[in-house]
Amino acid sequence: MTAPMKKELLLSSCEEAIDLAKKLGADEAEVFASSTVERNVGIEKNDLHQSSQVSETTWGIRVVKGGAVGFCTSNQPSSLKKAVSEAVGLASIAPPDVHNGIAQPMGDIPSIVAVDEDLINYGIDELTAMAMRLLSGACRLDGRLTIDRGGVGINHQTTAVASSTGTRCSYESAAGNGFLFGMCVDGDEVGSFSYDGDTVRSAADLENALNVSFDRFVKKCAGAMGATSGESFNGPVVLPPETVSEFLMGDLIAMMGADAVRTGKSPLGEKLGEVIASTSLSIFEEGLGLKGFPICPFDREGMLRKRTPLIENGVLSNLLFNSYESRAVNGALSSNATGGASSLPSVGASAISVATGSDQYKNMVNMEQGIIVTRFSSSSNPLTGDFSGVVKGGFLVKNGERRPIEETTIAGNLYECLRSISAISDTALLMNGTVSMPAIKIDGLSVTAG
């Protein structure tokens, strides 16, 4: 298959599955389908590894019967009846819940064009040549570079959602992407891993965007060489934009899910309307997409997406809801259902931005003693906020000098970190089209050298 199913055909197939579900005893049904064609060029060991072409169409069928939910996925059109039957069977054994149901359609879904014909017409030979140019360019920047894995690919996808409550929407998108994962090796010295990559919507942007991200990758790999043990102290930590997500945002966004609050796994439900962070911090769920990277205008349940402030000037202003969580709290707006055809709708963010601040990055890293963390590997308990982890890539800054460090751990608490933000940079980095982060400085963290 060289192209995904036409979105109109995909939508029709969803409607047929809904009819089938009703015939098999479902009270309500929703079918989410996606059809994908991908071409990828894999890189390993600084060489081309393998080119591949894969395609698949998947249907996710959710039914409600007697107030209970059942869900089944299939990638076989000939087995859809079996999948619908299993979904109905699963609903038959589950206990009812008054809040279970299928989302009611809400508003007109705008038509968004996210397909660049030049991108989807890239042949595997052109893509392979581009991947090799990018690889050669990265390797020329530093002869010590060793690529463990990498790739350049094109993804062309159609998506459709239909439900017995009247939802009917479909979308077509294409994206070009690439990444590198590896390290520098110099004799017996092996640097720590680094990763970088990007995703764009247009053919004209692809090679340049990947060149920029691969350049960042090489700098991170090179920066990890010559690392020595750090020092133990309590003090500031600077997170460049690429590190903010892994250090702060992953757990924080998960705790903002109304599902986490309802099930007692998040402490944030009782904090709505309260100051939970430095007043310089504002975070938005960017349901309308970030500049230059259109995203699907509807969520996993076919609900119209919107932009939602989550933290405004330090105040927790909203949580994230899908339709179940919305019904469970009597009607909060929902458009944050995430997931694909292979899973039940969950709760999450489609895109995230942290508002820029007023500080210049060069001033933020000008510290008497502190650490710049470029890669962090941690274990955390998002419920309590406690975390402890190893600086996998980073620099100790002391008296105007900086040097790479290893075997250094940082321990702290996520929620205290939010209140201890002392600076946010005046520029942000857009990553993979869906995450926009400035650099952030946090004071008073516990740093232990090995």
Partner: protein, 461 residues
């Protein structure tokens, strides 16, 4: 399906590998008395790999008809031909090896697949309710049951023709405890390749009891001081360390990329009492979660000794890397689903048990910590690792003392293994409920005895 793939492969020239993979995944989850998930996923298709002009081409199709599979073969050939001019280091012929032929039956398939979904749901409803009833300090709990059932057929133009089925059930429970605004969690999980009795060798009630006790006890625990310490690692932590910090660094594709294990075959990387292996079978105790009889290149799996008496003996290989190093493949090529290419992956990774009991080891430890229950973990190209630990007990003068929380364990694997001075005679597989990630997931297991070593403990400064 094997007959169809054989019919197709007999019409093809050059090296072609056809892999049929049908997978069914079922997931049941209950939180606070509500059934949060009753879901199933069926995914079926054929992955095609060709080796042409010294490079690989891959394609897949979910349409398992002869015409569609042949189209996928053409697509894979097109990809390989497009790639070949750019490949700097072409792949020569794959090494000859005894390839699997016939059907290989794995235990527990009929047992799990004929049990009703009602029984499985009832199990977790009861477990979740028991967890919340265990203490007034537990306001929230989650219990889950997952199962993966799979059918595979691997056929190659150079002689492999094997089929097998397997089932991997998992059970997990999470308890959240709360007191005066302080919260903590306790988690227990078990996953096996096998049937119901294998999964519940230890009854679900006991697993629930341990998770709730951990959650409640951790409410009163303090964060310890960080720094270098003597630590005794329970089999769960040993498993995580040998998988993340050693196993990945000896995957031959990663070795070729320059991992810390490169060039170290025949050198001392651990203390004399450490022998570390990776096996396709479930060694010592049955049910290990990464068990496979045949890998996804059709190679019969074996028990690969990676480190013997402290000396690095072998990497983990697929056919391509075995050819590069001039050794026999070890049966480590694995693909997660039909649309994934086979990569070098671990199966069941473990340290062989020693002669002392854990009680003796604790009694002979003047000062240190006993660590149990992995939370998560990552390792680096350098072998530097970081694992979260659910529970740690202080050891003073040969006796277990206070429980502490918020602990992470870190170090460089080969340096830590050099410090191992005690290996217990107990053995447990304890990573079967997790997944390994390397671009695609894989079900693996890992474990071993208790070991005592020196490592960095993360806590407060």
């Amino acid at each position: 399906m094997r007959l169809l793939l054989e019919e197709i492969i007999n019409t093809l020239d050059g090296f072609v590998e056809l892999r049929y993979h049908h997978k069914e995944f079922r997931s049941l989850r209950v939180t606070q008395g509500r059934v949060e998930s009753t879901s199933a996923r069926h995914r079926t298709g054929v992955g095609v790999r060709v080796l042409e002009s010294g490079t690989w081409g891959f394609a897949s199709t979910s349409d398992c008809t002869k015409a569609s599979i042949l189209q996928a073969v053409d697509a894979a050939r097109t990809s390989a031909r497009a790639s070949a001019p750019h490949r700097k280091d072409p792949i020569n012929d794959l090494p000859e090896v005894e390839l699997a032929k016939g059907d290989f039956e794995m235990p527990g398939v009929d047992d799990i697949m004929t049990r009703s979904i009602d029984e499985k749901l009832e199990l977790i409803v009861k477990a979740e309710a028991s967890a919340r009833a265990a203490s007034t300090l537990i306001p929230s709990a989650t219990a889950g049951y997952n199962e993966i059932y799979a059918e595979k057929v691997i056929v190659t133009t150079d002689g492999a023709s094997a089929g097998f089925r397997y089932v991997r059930p998992e059970f997990r429970v999470l308890a959240v405890a709360e007191r005066d605004g302080e919260r903590s969690t306790g988690h227990e999980a078990v996953g096996v390749t096998g049937g119901w009795e294998c999964l519940f060798r230890e009854e679900s009630d006991k697993l629930v009891g341990r998770a709730t006790k951990a959650a409640v006890d951790l409410l009163s625990a303090k964060i310890p001081e960080g720094g270098k310490n003597t630590v005794i690692l329970a089999p769960s932590i040993v498993g995580l360390m040998v998988h993340e910090a050693v196993g990945h660094t000896v995957e031959a594709d990663f070795v070729q990329s320059g991992s810390v294990a490169a060039g170290k075959i025949g050198t001392k990387v651990a203390s004399d009492i450490v022998t570390l292996c990776d096996s396709g079978a479930s060694e010592l105790i049955d049910g290990a979660g990464g068990t496979i009889p045949v890998d996804d290149e059709g190679v019969i799996t074996q028990d690969t000794v990676i480190i013997k008496d402290g000396v690095l003996k072998s990497y983990l290989h697929n056919r391509e890397s075995a050819a590069h190093y001039g050794v026999a493949p070890t049966g480590n090529a694995r693909a997660w689903e039909y649309s994934d290419e086979p990569l070098i992956r671990m199966r069941n990774t473990y340290i062989r048990p020693g002669s002392k009991s854990i009680d003796e080891i604790i009694a002979n430890t003047k000062s240190g910590f006993l660590l149990d229950g992995p939370r998560n973990g990552q390792a680096d190209a350098t072998g530097e690792f970081m694992f979260g630990v659910q529970q740690a007990w202080r050891i003073e003068n040969g006796k277990l003392g206070e429980l502490v929380r918020g602990v992470t364990l870190s170090g460089k694997a080969f340096e830590v293994l050099q410090t191992v001075d005690a290996v217990s005679n107990e053995f447990k597989w304890d990573l079967g409920a997790g997944h390994c990630g390397k671009g695609q997931p894989a079900k693996v297991d890992a474990g071993g005895p208790y070991i005592r070593c020196e490592a960095m403990l993360g806590g407060s400064q």
